[in-house]
Amino acid sequence: MAKVLVVTSGKGGVGKTTSTAALGAALAQAGENVVVVDFDVGLRNLDLVMGAERRVVYDMINVIQGDARLAQALIRDKRIDNLSLLPASQTRDKDALTDVGVASIIEQLRQKFDWIICDSPAGIEKGAMMAMRYADVAVVVTNPEVSSVRDSDRIIGMLDSKTLKAERDERIEKHLLLTRYDAGRAARGEMLKTEDVLEILSIPLLGIVPESVDVLNASNLGSPITLNNPTSAAAKAYFDAARRLRGEQLDVVVPIEKKGLMGRLFGRRVA
């Protein structure tokens, strides 16, 4: 049965879009039929991170308003056959995302795909609410930093009250994805520890993605990191997260600082 997954956070810049692309690609690489859906109407970016920005003709709002069929708006990935993208509109505003329209699109996508991954915009406005509305599973992307943890707490509260599942008294499955994790800073007590974040938010951990130049490089090239650099530590974290989403039981590996003596002495300056 198809699963609708929302990638959300409240706070901006924590890695929602990067994680949507990476998790979507990782699930597709595992053989699942995946669509990634951009809900950030007016500020779309998933197309860019996926490397499909020049292939956008129709978007979700065109489909909602009946100007295009869903099949016309879907963009199939050039690298993996079983990965598609439904872009957001760049010119409309978020009010164009009607509840009825989103419900209908999600229902149609459920017929075609195994996983529907909704990339939420930052904030708690309509776009974010619509992205989470029909979700079965939520991935809460959090940085080990006070403002991100606070916003994640708020979003978890909304997942438990504003989603269709919550309104029907069903349980929405929630996972924490800790991103931009810096092992060195954590070791020096400068950054919230994984245990701290887990204790405060009290939802299960899906993975820890280290802060890494590989992630930035993948975005620069318009390729999800699991495709662009599959052996990197960040890609490994996303592959493992995808396996957990598919139901596998795996221990989460906490990244450790891999630096030589010189790195230890001089690494701090650039960090």
């Binding site: 930093e145 006070v146 943890v149 606070r150 707490d153 708020r154 509260g157 009250s161 954590a186 020096r188 007590g189 400068e190 950054m191 919230l192 520890k193 701290d196 405060i200 701090r268 300056r269």
Partner: protein
């Protein structure tokens, strides 16, 4: 000194800030979660109280004021309803404020 020198100095007076972050978050979130619970509870109470009153009298929604003051031991729910001046059928119920 230059920046390199500053870094060398800071090595000796480095403080661990993560525990402070943790404490602050725990206090703040305990507070915010309670507040979020409140507003939900208050909305439900408001609607149900309005529905009960509406069975007997017509009241202006804006004239109904519901407040919840949470104290350490007891909380006080204050319901303030302004009714129309003449109540032909429901004189027994009385008008004005009620507190629970």
């Amino acid at each position: 000194m230059n920046i390199g020198g500053m870094n060398l100095l800071s090595l000796f007076r480095r403080q661990r800030t993560a525990p402070v972050a943790r404490e602050r978050l725990q206090v703040l979130l305990a507070h915010e979660r309670m507040a979020a619970g409140h507003s939900e509870l208050l909305n439900v109470l408001r609607e149900e109280i309005l529905a009960v009153i509406a069975k007997h009298v017509t009241v202006d929604r804006d004239k109904v004021n519901i407040k919840l003051d949470r104290g350490p031991d007891v909380s006080i729910l204050e319901i303030d309803v302004e009714m129309p001046a003449i109540l032909p059928k429901v004189r027994a119920q009385g008008a004005g404020a009620a507190a629970a």
